[in-house]
Symmetry: C2
Subunit: 446 residues, 2 copies
């Protein structure tokens, strides 16, 4: 299991800016109630907890076909892109520059026409398979790019086009499912599994299999996390301790910004995946936290000044990797220069770990609470574990905050206004609203 060291969150180690063990203990009953509540699985959103036990054969079958092509293009946005992208970047970094790793992979997760132009100029559409991901089957951005690509592919390969698509969507509802009924290949996202909890469904697993990672390993890691995160011993359950700490730090100390800083480039996307999960699940009714994406050591050089000496509104979570599975010894060159001589004979892995440890301590000395999660290495097993761990932490934090971690009611208005502008029937009043707002907006501008 992953390790959690939260000493530097505690008053016992960092003094008055920390939380006392006694206070933490006082949350035990509430926390265990939350665990029991989760175990009863009454909320449909908890369906994500079944994912580790799914049958991956449909995914493997779909991947098999896609792996024979030169390129794999994913169309999706939000939870339909962040998870697969994270799997790609964590498990096959620099994928498109390395040979023999399966198809080149492109993720089009926006409606930026310039990006689509560059993607199309980087791949041969004739040799491309496309995965369209939308839980509802009706995400406008994804629908738009799907329509464009479908027509292009049809021009390029004729009837064969339909065979080049895999639609990942609801098993019963929505436009993509209807299309699947006409013969297009499809994978199912189980009912109840929302976009931001879908990474361990076919949404993420297909990407894993296409790049040659083992989806069973992702699930195996998640299974271990499941066992540990639903354990009813408060002090031995890292998910419940972490969720409690985040909650108390916000409620009692006003620390509402949660930075997640993995010390590994390939986990930068993991931090971004976490940001959607944490913000969209918990940011409601005036409550919630602002998660912050980061990567070490790089962001020490851009953010640490603020963390050390800026407003006291943050909790920093380090994500440490024990084995980088690669290392370089710093050679005996430039020994005559003071800034370099001490580095000779050291290793890069030693340096990155030293910086992580030093930053933890520097923050603690300044009374800035932080904790560290450790994984042995970045592989499918531990990535699956991390996904599941943070999903459970999020659900628990939702329980503490008193919000529903599975809905996102406030994204609708922007969609309705967009529909209005795009001329969708039934949204004429929304179009009027936007046009009227333009008048208001002529007031203050330079």
């Amino acid at each position: 299991m992953l390790g959690l060291n939260y000493s530097f969150m505690m008053a016992e180690a960092i003094g008055s800016k920390g939380i006392t063990g006694r206070k933490l203990e006082s949350f035990r009953v509430k926390a265990l109630e939350a665990i029991e509540e989760i175990k009863r699985k009454r909320h449909p959103g908890l369906a994500f907890m079944e994912l580790p036990w799914q049958d991956v054969s449909p995914v493997r079958e779909a991947a098999q076909k896609l792996r024979d092509l030169d390129n794999f293009l994913l169309l999706g946005i939000g939870g339909s892109a962040l998870g697969p992208k994270c799997i790609l970047e964590a498990l096959s970094p620099f994928h498109n520059l390395r040979e023999g790793k399966g198809p080149k992979v492109f993720v089009y997760e926006n409606v930026d026409p310039a990006t689509l132009k560059y993607i199309l100029s980087s791949l041969d559409l004739k040799k491309t398979g496309i995965n369209v991901i939308s839980k509802s089957g009706g995400t406008s951005e994804t629908a738009a790019s799907f329509m464009i690509l479908y027509e292009m592919l049809e021009k390029a390969v004729g009837r064969e086009a339909a065979n080049r698509f895999v639609l990942t969507t609801d098993p019963e509802k929505g436009d993509l499912r209807k299309l699947a009924a006409t013969g297009m290949s499809a994978l199912s996202i189980p009912p109840g599994v929302g976009g931001r909890y879908s990474v361990l469904s076919p949404v993420g697993l297909l990407m894993a299999e296409v790049i040659g990672a083992d989806s069973e390993e992702l699930l195996a890691g998640a299974k271990e996390a499941h066992e540990k995160c639903l354990d009813c011993n408060f002090w031995e359950n890292p998910a419940i301790v972490a969720a409690t700490l985040y909650y108390v730090m916000q409620r009692d100390e006003g620390r509402a910004i949660d930075v997640l800083i993995p010390y590994a480039d390939r986990l930068k996307s993991f931090s971004e995946w976490f940001c959607q999960l944490w913000s969209e699940s918990l940011g409601k009714q005036g409550r919630g936290f602002t998660p912050y994406p980061s990567v070490g050591t790089t962001d020490q050089h851009s953010q640490v000044q603020l963390w050390m000496e800026g407003p006291e509104d943050k909790v920093i979570t380090f994500l440490r990797v024990e084995d980088y599975e690669a290392d370089f010894t710093i050679p005996d060159v430039f020994g005559q220069y003071e800034g370099m001589s001490f580095l000779r004979g050291q290793s890069l892995a030693g340096l990155i770990k030293a910086e992580e440890e030093a930053t933890e301590l520097a923050l603690a000395k300044a009374g800035r609470p932080n904790m560290a999660i450790t994984i042995p290495k970045v592989d499918a097993y531990y990535l699956g574990m991390l996904f599941y761990f943070f999903e459970v932490v999020t659900v628990l934090a939702g329980h503490f905050l008193g919000v529903n971690p599975f809905d996102q009611p406030s994204v609708e208005e922007g969609k309705r206004l967009t529909f209005g502008l795009m001329g969708k029937k039934g949204f004429e009043d929304k179009k009027r609203e936007v046009v009227q707002a333009r008048d208001k907006k002529s007031q203050f501008k330079i």
Copy 2:
């Protein structure tokens, strides 16, 4: 010049959550004082304001040599990497997948050994030029990778190795400058120009020239920004209005998180560049803001729920692009499906712009202040303008906050502790501190 529409920051348009024109007006004197103060250029950190008028011929000469090679590898971290990376991604997106765009480019901005392994497996070192960037010449991370690469290159090409490096550093001081004196090629970062204000120095300009962008254009855009941002007419100066708004929103409304969301994938790195500038310049003495990196429309699907309904602690700044210089019409396919039929005949550029406009309004309707910066297109000229604009806004915000926007005193302790762990002479007590802290940290862990 870039456009600034701040109507949705104002009480006149969004009601009580906005700022009144009268309150803004009351900052006029203080703001103009700040402008006058900047114009006197008494602080050495203001040296960045001279950069638009520099002679770019040394940069062009260095680039000429590098462009003949197959690969260009940049070693730097923080301000020495974020700026060049932003120029690369904004001005030559998907650079390494496109042919005929000059050398393939790699930025190694960390000490993650796995990343270095992947970079080395993606390029032929024999055909690689390397730019080492460190203002002080003594950044440990950069020194470490420089030492490793120097030895490798020496093994690969013998004496020729020294000719493959360009050192970008202080004109007089530091280890890199001393090395330059032994014959290695070097470019100068003018004294006073700190890392996070260095993008328009040879730090960023060399990258521009290597990828075939025109560094003079970057500077020309900055010149226009200089003229407009130092204008003494409060209501016509976008930098002073923006700085005042950020400051007042934080001081009076508790909105201390500033999200910058460009609606263009290629400006995602710009948002990250801004984050260092804003956080490291202003986060001190308990003051400052937390800048937040974002990109639209993608992050609508991950963040908007939190922005709309979470804690009222944010100001959202949209960055709009008028011309994407590419577009796709959504074809007449799948017309039988409701979620798709209304999109037929629309364009991707139309959709991304509609989403941006709709999101502004949705936020405004929920009483969430936001403003929009507009640029005609993403090119070197407007990128230079954006860099300079935000640099001036940062200095002005520092003036309001009463902090020195050019120092970063709190990053030192982490460095000292790292030195201790790495066995640097004179830091033995810091090593002891870290070792003792390990005891403390054995207390609370799972």
